[in-house]
């Protein structure tokens, strides 16, 4: 056990707008944590800063005991921290297998993958996310739900310790959301620490044992979903004053 991610006084500003305002929290190894907040709360920005795509204005991030503040994104991935994107990214003109191959060819991924053969290892990953029958197809023709599975597969190729999933449920039909939920749950039970964001609360609340809530860049609550859902400040953030949760 132990703290796998420690965020301290993190602040990120964009030309006058403070997207992340003095956020601090800790995540233990093996935890399953949600990050909620209305649109524009700063969830993606926090993920961008933690994963190295953006540099914070102040504050620090420690991953697995190491200070990773301001480190280059690919270096952070090779330490075991990988994130997926809200707007699905893929290598559009390569096969799904090649898409996964890229992650498996990262220094960290290669350590494991080369024992089995890169293609074989990628095929196993495609199988575990339920896409093996589409291995030779390019992402351009896939439905949205499959692309989200592909993203998770690509993240798995790097052999992550901590997985940051940015809005993995957005834009999914009910069946697709169920698929993704099962996938994420099985990843967690395999030992991967998972940190998930969402702004539709119902799907997240039933999934995670702990939720951090933020609003306008600031931390507002941290605890079991039921508590956070009944927190006055959280309610005000989502519903304005005088609202209640259904």
């Amino acid at each position: 056990m132990g703290v796998i991610l420690e965020v301290k006084n993190l602040t990120k500003k964009f030309a006058g707008l403070t997207a992340v305002n003095d956020m601090s929290f800790e995540i233990q190894r093996g935890e399953f944590v949600g990050l909620i907040g209305p649109n524009g709360a700063g969830k993606t920005t926090i993920f961008n800063v933690i994963s190295g795509l953006e540099k914070p204005n102040s504050g620090s991030i420690r991953f697995d005991g190491r200070d990773i503040t301001g480190m280059k994104p690919h270096k952070i991935v090779n330490l075991g921290l990988v994130r997926t994107f809200q707007l699905v990214r893929s290598f559009k003109f390569m096969t799904l297998l090649d898409n996964i191959n890229v992650s498996c060819l990262s220094p960290r991924g290669k350590e494991i993958a080369k024992e089995y053969g890169i293609d074989e290892y990628s095929s196993t990953i495609l199988g575990s996310v339920g896409l093996i029958d589409k291995a030779r197809l390019p992402p351009v023709i896939l439905p949205h739900g499959d692309l989200r599975k592909l993203q998770i597969g690509k993240a798995l190729g790097t052999n992550p310790q901590l997985l940051l999933l940015d809005e993995p449920f957005s834009g999914l039909s009910h069946e697709e959301a169920v698929d993704i939920t099962e996938l994420i749950e099985s990843l967690h039970s395999d030992g991967v620490t998972v940190f998930v964001t969402g702004h539709v609360l119902r799907e997240l609340m039933g999934l995670v044992p702990r939720v951090i809530a933020m609003h306008q860049g600031k931390f507002i609550a941290d605890g079991p979903p039921k508590e956070v859902a009944n927190n006055k400040i959280v309610l005000e953030a989502y519903l304005g004053r005088g609202g209640t949760f259904a």
Binding site: R89, F91, V102, E115, I118, K154
Partner: protein, 355 residues
């Protein structure tokens, strides 16, 4: 537990790939063209014809190096003339003044081209899209002007008496090339084949997959743990080395070198040839170079014709014609002519065979 593929497996894979490839229409057309090219020096001794084919093959190498960088790694360079020029000068001078054997001078030239390319090009790799193009273009322009500067020329003459910075001639002392032009032809032919085969298979390797990922989505590649800067530099070096080989061969072909080799025009030639044949199809460079050289020669002959002067004379200016062709290609055949041409050829062939 599977180990990395050893040499024997790689060769076997290649052999079975060849057996498959030779059965495809494209493979057969390629083999026919290669045989045609290979026997040319034995069915004619006309130096003019051999010379044009030499230029064609050298340009194929040059265009292929550009196509690799632009089509497979997504780095569109507008300064490929830098590699051509640096290598041409180094090759020329080491052969003329240090009397190095030609193959050593060639490799040395390519090596210096890469070195120079790294110094001026790597900063440009931080730029993307149009800015990368501008960066590489301006670097090559600077070099062109530098080599033309007369004050620098005086300094040069003091260090290397009897020559000018503006170039040198007399590389014709590579006797084996001048006495038996067929040998030069065969040498270029072999180099061209090696380069094209290497590049075609390199892009299918694991490193090639990474490079293509950088082309498709560089941020996504970084998010997959790839050090994209490292790979872009590697690709740049490979592309530069091959372009440098073309530069050295260019020197031998023209038995001399001058600042003109740094003209951005040569960079544009590479782009035109690669685009004509098809970006991201290494062998398309051959088709593009072929069209470019032969059409260019026809235009030159037309331009030299005393009956064609004035405004009409302007219309047969090669760069003008090729710019128009490029615009037409982009509009109607943006993936180049190689694939459509092969398709048309195949349907024609099927028709002839009554399928």
């Amino acid at each position: 537990m599977k180990k990395r593929k050893d040499l024997k497996t790689v060769l076997n894979d290649f052999k079975s790939y060849l057996r498959f490839w030779i059965k495809t229409f494209r493979g057969q057309v390629t083999v026919l063209c290669l045989i045609g090219l290979a026997i040319l020096p034995f069915i004619t001794t006309n130096t003019y014809i051999i010379g044009i084919f030499n230029t064609f093959m050298i340009y194929t190498i040059f265009a292929a190096s550009w196509d690799f960088l632009a089509g497979y790694v997504g780095q569109v360079s507008f300064g490929h003339a830098i590699f051509l020029g640096v290598s041409a000068y180094v090759t020329a001078f080491t052969v003329k003044f240090f009397l190095f054997p030609w193959w050593f001078a060639l490799i040395l030239g390519a090596f210096f081209a890469v070195l120079f390319g790294l110094i001026v090009g790597v900063p440009s790799l931080r730029l993307k899209g149009p800015y990368l193009a501008l960066g590489t273009l301006s670097m090559s322009l600077i070099l062109y002007e530098l080599f033309k500067m007369s004050s620098l020329g005086l300094l040069w003459e003091a260090t290397f008496p009897g020559t000018e910075l503006f170039g040198t001639t007399g590389i014709g002392q590579i006797i084996i090339f001048t006495d038996i032009p067929q040998i030069f032809y065969i040498v270029i032919f072999i180099i061209m084949c090696v380069v094209v085969v290497f590049l075609t298979h390199f892009v299918k390797s694991n490193t090639g997959t990474i490079l293509k990922a950088i082309r498709d989505d560089e941020t996504g590649a970084k998010a997959s743990g790839i050090n994209t800067t490292k790979y872009k530099v590697i690709a740049f070096m490979i592309s530069g080395f091959i372009a440098g080989i073309a530069g050295g061969l260019f020197t031998f072909r023209h038995t001399g070198v001058n600042p003109g080799i740094f003209q951005p025009l040569y960079s544009f030639y590479a782009i035109i040839m690669a685009a004509l044949g098809g970006i991201a199809t290494i062998s398309g460079s051959a088709l593009g170079a072929f069209i470019f050289v032969f059409l260019g020669e026809i235009l030159r002959l037309l331009g030299d014709n005393p009956n064609i002067t004035g405004t009409i004379g302007g219309f047969v200016e090669p760069i003008f014609v090729f710019s128009i062709i490029l615009i037409i290609i982009i509009r109607f055949a943006e993936h180049g002519l190689l694939k459509p041409a092969l398709e048309r050829l195949k349907s024609l062939w099927d028709l002839i065979l009554g399928r």
